[in-house]
């Protein structure tokens, strides 16, 4: 009995040292990672709606979207929001920019880990450029009655992207309409 307690104690010491080292390294890297993510998000937003000034808006369900305004006239140029849904093997996250009429300006896949060679091709412009100019009701893959041509061999991924964007766009639109046309 005593022997096993001793073994457990030795293991505890090893684990304690390891967690101490990891905690220290985490304090070094965590701020860099957080800052990099924030910077990436800002860069992506500005790429979607160039030349706009972004204001954070909190929706009633707690999610956040951004209002893009013209820096001079303060006129609304559009909105950007994140849409995400489960694809084939990962959660696919998309950042979407829409104009005030909720026609898509551009989309950017910000995070995915789909099958290389198939679903992972969703980041290529030949797929994402199809979304440009689409209205909410067109945001379906062609098998579901929309206009988006899915990636060959990756209908699930393509469908998940189209559906997640459509759902989120409707949510954001309703939110804005409720807010008295703000």
């Amino acid at each position: 009995m005593k022997y096993y307690l001793k073994l457990g104690f030795i293991l505890l010491i090893f684990c304690a040292i390891a967690s101490g080292v990891l905690a220290y390294i985490n304090t070094l890297t965590a701020p860099i990672i957080a800052e990099r993510k924030a910077r990436e998000a800002i860069e992506t937003r500005s790429a979607l709606i160039p030349g706009a000034e972004f204001h954070e808006v909190q929706a009633s369900d707690g999610s956040i979207f951004y209002e893009a305004r013209d820096p001079e006239t303060q006129e609304i140029m559009g909105y950007t929001f994140n849409a995400s849904d489960l694809g084939y093997s990962s959660t696919v996250q998309t950042m979407v920019g829409v104009d005030p009429d909720f026609k898509v300006i551009a989309i950017r896949i910000v995070d995915q880990a789909e099958t290389p060679g198939l679903g992972a091709n969703c980041t290529s412009p030949s797929f994402t450029d199809q979304y440009k100019g689409l209205a909410i009701e067109d945001l379906y893959v062609n098998k579901d009655g929309g206009v988006i041509v899915p990636i060959a061999g990756a209908t699930i991924t393509s469908r998940c992207i189209a559906n997640s964007i459509r759902k989120k766009a409707i949510e954001v639109r309703d939110e804005i309409n409720q807010g008295g046309g703000e």
Binding site: L11, V21, D111
Partner: protein
């Protein structure tokens, strides 16, 4: 000299993938492109080198009964360090390797070398073994990834190397392609070894 021998044995003679056949899970999974193979290989080399060093240093105070959990703790710590540092400084590579970084923990090359080599040899030799095995692993990943990326995507390290008329064989990049490539390369290496 013994040091150089330990350093170079991983390249061909005791190559971890083609000869020892260890660590096949990450091998099959990440070799879809050369850059992924290279990143995975170097990350694993770093972990292998560090864990071999520590395991060799603590071999006299490690009770034999709980050596495996202790090795795992050591290995997991280094993998977590690699994961965090990579996320901070090499975000693009970190993104494409994704899930496979934490999985270095269960890469049997690393536990295998800790158990079979580092726990019985001195620190210097263990470092040599770690670097050698790691580079051998990296080399194998790059070779497999080269075949798969060229056949499956028509590119090498992201640069187009095949004529535009070449229609990439998608299967090379999917899981079956990994098995087929590995099988052929293993046969080739066995053939060369037997001729010697």
């Amino acid at each position: 000299m013994k040091f150089t021998k330990e350093l170079t044995k991983g390249f061909v003679k005791d190559n971890p993938i083609f000869v020892l056949v260890l660590g096949l899970c990450p091998t099959l999974a990440v070799t879809t492109s050369v850059i992924n193979g290279l990143g995975m290989g170097l990350a694993a080399t770093f972990v292998l080198m560090c864990s071999n060093t520590i395991v060799s240093m603590i071999k006299n105070i490690t009770p034999p009964k709980i050596r495996i959990p202790i090795y795992i703790v050591v290995i997991a710590s280094f993998v977590t360090i690699v994961d965090m540092v990579m996320a901070a400084y090499l975000p693009a590579l970190h993104k494409s390797l994704g899930l496979f970084i934490p999985l270095i923990v269960v890469n049997c090359i690393i536990l295998g070398r800790a158990e079979a080599f580092a726990s019985k040899n001195n620190v210097l030799m263990s470092i040599a073994d770690g670097i050698g095995m790691g580079l051998g692993f990296t080399l194998s990943l790059v070779v497999i990834a080269t075949v798969r990326e060229i056949l499956g995507a028509g590119t090498w390290l992201g640069m187009r190397v095949t004529p535009l008329s070449y229609d990439p064989m998608l299967i090379a990049i999917l899981a079956p392609g990994a098995f087929i490539t590995l099988g052929f390369l293993m046969a080739l290496i066995n053939m060369i070894k037997e001729k010697k």
